[in-house]
Structures are given as C-alpha cells and as structure tokens.
Amino acid sequence: MENNNIMNPNAKAIPIDEENEKPRAASFGKPVSTQMDFLRRTLVQPKALIGLVILTIFIAMAVFAPVIAPHDPSQYVGLPNQPPSPEYWLGTTGQGQDVFAQLVWGARISLLIGFSVGILSTLIGMVIGMVSGYMPGIIDGVLNLFTNVFLLIPGLPLLITLASFLPQGMTTVILVLTFTGWSWPARVFRSQVLCLREKDFVSASVISGEGSSRIIFAEILPNMLSLVMVSLFGAVIYTIGADAGLAFLGFENINIVSWGTMLYWASNSSALLQEAWWTFLPPGLCIALVSFGTTMLIYAMDEVTNPRLRSEKEITRVLRKYHLSSKRSTPVVKEPLA
C-alpha cells in the first residue's frame, strides 16, 4: 500500500518547543530536487561545517601561499634546526630552511596531488565500474576481472616499484597513485549499479527506448551522488597519506617541497635525535588535520543518507525534555501540541 505513516523513515523528529503553532509551508509547493536537498541537508550538519572549515583553511593556505610566505621555501634562511621564534614561526629545518614557509607551500603540492588523484581515480572507477555493472555478459566479465586483478595486487609494493623506475615528478606521482587507486571505487560503483539496475525506473527507461550510456550516466548515476562524493573524499584521504608515505620513503623528487618531503628531510636529518620536533610535527599534523576534516565531511554525508542515524539523537532530545526515559513503549504526553 502507499507510504504508511508508521515507521516513516523520512519523518524527522524535532523538539516540540522549536515549532510554532503554524506549521511551515509544505514542501509540495516548490520543487526541490533530491540532489540539492542532499547537499543542503549535509551542509547544515555540524560535522560538515567543521570539515568544511578545516578544508577551507588549508585550501586558502595553499592558494594564498605567495602572500603568506612570499619567499622561496627551499631557500636557506638561517641556522639549521632553530626552534620556533618570532622571526621564523616554526623554526628552521635541518637544512636551514623556513619550516613555516615550507608548510604553506607544501600544502599546494600535497593538496593538489590529493584532489587530482581523488578525482581521477573516482572518474576512472566510475566509468569502468558502472559500465561493468550495467552491461551483462562478456563486458561485465572482462571489466570485472580486470578490476579484481588490480584489487589483488598489493598496493604498496606496486607503488614503490612504479615510482622507482618512472621519472620522478608530480605527474608520475599522480599517475602511479591513480593507477593503484581506481579499482576500489570501481568495485563499489559496480555493486551499486548491479543493485540499481533492477529498479523499475531503469526498466521504464529501456521501454522508452533510452540507450545504455544515457541510462548509466543520466539515470543511474544521479541516484548515486552521495556514494560518489564519499568515494571521492575517501580517495583524497588515501592519496594524501600514500603520497606522504612515498615521499617519506624517498621515492619522490625530494627537491620539491611537500609535506611528505618535509618528513623525508626531517627523518634524514635525524630530527628525533636532535629533538627538533618543529621539523616533523607540523607537516604530520597538517596531514592528520586534512584527513580529519575530510572524514568529518564523509560522516556528515553518511548521516544524511542514513536517516536512522539522524532521528536517533533527535528523539533522545525530545524524550529528555519531557522527562520520559523509556523508548520501548510509545510515550504518552499529556499536553496539547498543535
């Protein structure tokens, strides 16, 4: 039967004192697309705001690097391993460079690599995974096998192998990380498409005469928006960490300043022995913070797409207000609401 009000998963609870007597205008008037709705609802979550603020700070840092730290970060500016001082806010490295400047300029490289690989691997994974999920038979078989092979190959050894014999540079890093990173999103998207392709609206599109590529990318894909976003940001987190790891191990061009190479040089100059925490703590912290902020965004998106997570905490709030402890039986409230 039609949507029964019982256990309506779309019903969201709000505390009673926040409503006025007149209910808000029904959403039946203005058309609200599900994608805009999703974005709007995500962005009002506190977790999303935290994540966005953090990411904005770092992106701003990277974009305005020439303004914030106007000199060349690899320039020798003073005595090596100087602790933080009013002149050099985060002190100097083992090579006598300005740590703060390096941090700010390094953000550019790390974030650029993170987001480009994130986007590239999601895109490639999307095309291969979705086509594989929708097309029956041979095409699915071949693409799926291809994906699985890439999934099975151990990531780190492959990364190191490729990085060591390809010419060093940012393009190599992006290529290598994308090469090892596309298969996981591909698998995820394939499963989702396998599920969505059984839906009636897909069959209805077939009946209308719609072609396969339009069905996959114009009908099925918009229903997977939240999954794509989560996948994208997950890939960003993975990439920033992997890139730092590769650089730390010395497989990247160590003359480029990034958070990962900062760690490499710090390790090389025995920063721990020298107790020069300001040379490795800041880049490490930055990597952690960016990952944290991105994770917060992902959590917020999860909460929006899974209504049960949302309503749980709001109902507890209402019950506490009315001094009702039990959630097992329907509470009886003796006051007029509306």
Partner: protein, 314 residues
C-alpha cells in the same frame, strides 16, 4: 485517542479524537485508506508505535485498567496475554533465522510457561490453525505465504488473549489463500471466543466478517454502524465513495467513479470537515465547522453536517 508524529514540517495529526468500544466476542472492522490512521491506532493501543510518534491524549480501558497509564513492566505482562496483534505481511513479523517452534515458544516461556508446556501448546496451536505440527521445525522461508500467516496467527493466540488485533492480515496474500485464512479465523473465533479488531482497506471483506464497522478518514472516525446496515444504508459521503470504488463480479456493470482528489496532508488538515475538499455534497458549513458525531439510529452514528437535524430520528 490522539496520536502525533513529530516531523520537521510540524506534528502530523495521525489520529485525532478517535473513540470506539469492542464488546466481548465481536468483530469490529476498521476500514480506511492509507493515511487514515487505522494502523496507527492499532499500534497505539499496544503502545508499540516507534519514534517519532507520541500519544498526546486519550485512554484505552481494558478490563478496568488504562493502557496509557501503564509503565514498561506492566505493558510487558499485558501485551500478548491480553491483547495480541497480527501484522500485515507475516514476512515482516517472523524472524528469518529462527525456527517457527522457537518463535512460538519464546513468547510463552517469557510469560512464565515451562519449556515442555510451551512445546505442547505449540503443537496444539498448529493443530488449531491447520498446519501439520511437523512444520514447527521449519524456517519461515520454507513455508508458503498462507502458512506463514497462519503461523503468525498461531503465535498471536499463544496466550489465549481475549482481544486480537489484525492489521491487514490478508492484504499481501492471494485471494484464494485469503479466503482460506478468513475462514480459519472465523472458525477459531467461534471456537475460542475472542474479539477481533480487524483493520483493512477492503470494505467488501469487512462486510463479510465483521459485526460492526467503523470507517476512518484522515485520522478521524466518520461513520460507525453494524456491518449489514452500513452496507445497505451508508450515510457518510466518504463511505458512499468507498462503496463506489469496488467493482462487482456479479450483477449489472455500472460506471464507478471512486473519489476524486487525494487524502489531505495531516500536518495541516483542511478546516472544518476533513473530507470537504473531496465531498460531492459539501455545503458552506462544512468548510468552517468540524461535524460532531450524531447518532442516527441504534448503533449507527455518522460525523457529517448532512445529518445535523436528524439526531435520534428513526
């Protein structure tokens, strides 16, 4: 009884001032479409509505006690031993990873029976509902749809409750199986003597098996009458509209129109009579004042301004 669902658009007035009585041994039919509140009221009686639902008023008196005043512990004892419920679609009510026997004995053991007694009763119950006792050791997916629904009925009858609530028990079943189940229920009722609150959207079904019928629309009861009388003399325009929505399999074919429009948004229901936007006989007063329930003849009451001057007539 008043029940509200809290939503971001405001509280949904799912049930608004619904009152009815069930006598021992009778079948009360509750008819209505989606959004009428019929399932809500059934769950509210047993206080098993999930958040964000709140009961905001009313009483439910059973054997002298008000269910709305009971606390958790009392409710646990009360449920199933006094009032049991059969849900729509047994697939949702049965645990797919437990054998039927365990699901049956579980509730009995919980209420104090010994394992041995419970198993004995389980065999009796399956006999009652017409399933071979050896199927007790099957899993739900190994039984057909009709058998599963019968198993759910058996579980409901486990503690011999005087009142059984059945919420659309046959809607998900084929018409032949449905008839089977209904006959089974009638036989059981004659044998054990319990009362039934039978909830469904199928008015023709209700006329066949109920003693009295109440019609619900948008959270309110709009008409109450004995089954036969409701069918022969429906008064409320909504009841008439409902009757006009069932094609018949015999007799002359007429043109049926159904009811235009759709049920109202219960966050802000229409002023006055909630049915007036769709009513072919609406008058100016219907938009302003909600009609009170008038008793027309013994046991036949209706909430409609058309009968404002007829109270107590006939």
């Amino acid at each position: 009884m008043h029940v509200r669902y809290l939503t971001t658009r405001g509280p949904v007035r799912a049930v608004d001032g619904v009152s009815f009585a069930i006598q021992p041994g009778e079948v009360i039919g509750l008819a209505g479409e989606s959004g009428s509140g019929k399932s809500t009221i059934a769950h509210a009686i047993l206080r098993i509505l999930h958040p964000p639902a709140l009961i905001t008023g009313g009483q439910a008196m059973f054997e002298g006690r008000d269910i709305m005043q009971m606390d958790d512990a009392e409710l646990q004892q009360f449920r199933w031993s006094k009032i049991a419920i059969v849900f729509q679609s047994a697939m949702n009510a049965l645990n797919p990873v437990m054998k039927i026997r365990d699901q049956l004995t579980d509730v009995m053991v919980h209420h104090g029976m010994s394992k041995a007694d419970a198993n004995q009763r389980a065999v009796e119950l399956f006999d009652l509902v017409g399933i071979e006792p050896k199927r007790l050791d099957s899993y739900p997916h190994q039984l057909s749809g009709g058998m599963r629904q019968r198993a759910v009925i058996a579980i409901a009858l486990a503690l011999k409750p005087p009142l059984l609530i059945m919420d659309e028990p046959t809607t998900a079943l084929d018409v032949v199986v449905q008839k089977d189940i209904l006959e089974q229920i009638t036989r059981l009722r004659e044998k054990l003597g319990f009362s039934i609150l039978f909830i469904t959207h199928d008015l023709s079904l209700l006329v066949e098996i109920s003693t009295r019928i109440s019609i619900m629309y948008a959270g309110e009861i709009v008409e109450k009458a004995p089954a036969r009388e409701l069918f022969e003399k429906p008064l409320h325009p909504y009841t008439l509209g409902l009757m006009n929505s069932f094609p018949s399999i015999s007799g002359k074919k007429h043109d049926l129109a159904g009811i235009p429009g759709s049920p109202p948004d219960l966050v802000a229901p229409p002023n006055g009579c909630r049915f007036h936007p769709r009513c072919p006989k609406a008058m100016p007063i219907c938009e302003q004042i909600a009609p009170a329930t008038k008793t027309i003849s013994s046991d036949h009451s209706v909430a409609c301004h058309l009968f404002d001057s007829q109270e107590g007539a006939k």
